[in-house]
Point group: C2
Chain length 195, copies 2
């Protein structure tokens, strides 16, 4: 039984323990080593993943082969290439573990069965995707509206522990800057704080 | 009765006419004149809107006061500032009619009542938001990966009628370029075609 998943679902819908025990049967636990890929761009996307512990990132390969990170998922977040997952299409994004990570994985087939058996879970996922959609709209707004330094400030202001936790190279890729430039911004911020 | 909404819902879930007639009672029809705002950045976001006829756009004001368009909704699309709608927060985006538009509007209160009465609609909205989320991920990928010209080609290749339909200034804002530059790209494409 995953306490994390139970608590997360229970935040959105009324859920009894007995039903949750049954719901858990649709999931598989997986351990993913740091830098291991769960989904690879161009391949099949086998599952939707709930992060129990650790951190995933979603990225795609740029025209010059650089990895562009567009999202992170830490504890209690879902991550998949939703279009590829739903339609059985080739993944347009890769998903990789940023650190050693524990996930609960559910295939499309099991997802359909679960939603058929526990329709209340439709409400849970409706709310999960509303939030994911809202977050991605904000992300577009920030990319277009803020400077790289402002995006860093916004991100480190809202998720300070997270910024400490992920490798600088990965954070730089997410912010769309070079690791060197990120290091400069951080130094500037540190100097400001100590003044 | 809205045939558009009925057909759209029926694509995702089994829905009988009698239930749909009841579901329609949760909605209000609204006519919006071209350039009229349905939602204004900084104000309350009163409803979620289904486009019956016409076209809406979502935008925010840039630091220098320029309108940045980040999404469109034509017939059979839903549009709202989902975060503001759900949480009763101030809207972070404005929503405006690009042409004279007919929408079906549903308030948060009526939405909750409808979902409580017809839980199957949870499945419809879960799928609507999965698609909206997927589209926004692709949008981030395109913004980061493609040049402005490639974004134009992708957009006009996939939605040719739409590109004809919306004002050049609005399309330019969506592509993140000046109307003059857009006009240059189009001329180049026209010359290519006639060669």
């Amino acid at each position: 039984m995953s306490e994390n998943l139970y608590n997360h679902i229970a935040k959105f819908i009324p859920l009894v323990r007995e039903d949750f025990a049954e719901i858990m049967l649709f999931f598989d636990s997986q351990s993913v080593k740091k830098k291991q890929n769960l989904v690879e761009e161009g391949n099949v996307c086998r599952a939707n993943y709930f992060v129990e512990k650790g951190c995933l990132r979603m990225f795609f390969l740029d025209v010059d082969g650089t990895e562009q990170t567009i999202q992170f998922a830490i504890e209690n977040w879902w991550m998949t290439d939703i279009e590829a997952f739903n339609k059985g299409k080739k993944a347009a994004f890769s998903i990789q573990a940023v650190e050693n990570t524990e996930v609960l994985a559910i295939t499309k087939y099991e997802m359909e069965r679960m939603l058929g058996t526990y329709p209340l879970m439709e409400s849970y996922f409706r709310q999960v995707y509303e939030r994911a959609y809202a977050a991605s709209l904000f992300r577009v707004k920030y990319i277009m509206r803020l400077s790289k330094e402002e995006i860093y400030d916004h991100f480190s202001g809202n998720f300070p522990e997270f910024v400490q936790r992920i490798p600088q190279k990965v954070l730089a890729s997410f912010l769309g800057i070079t690791p060197e430039y990120l290091s400069e911004i951080r130094k500037k911020r540190m100097t400001r704080k100590t003044k």
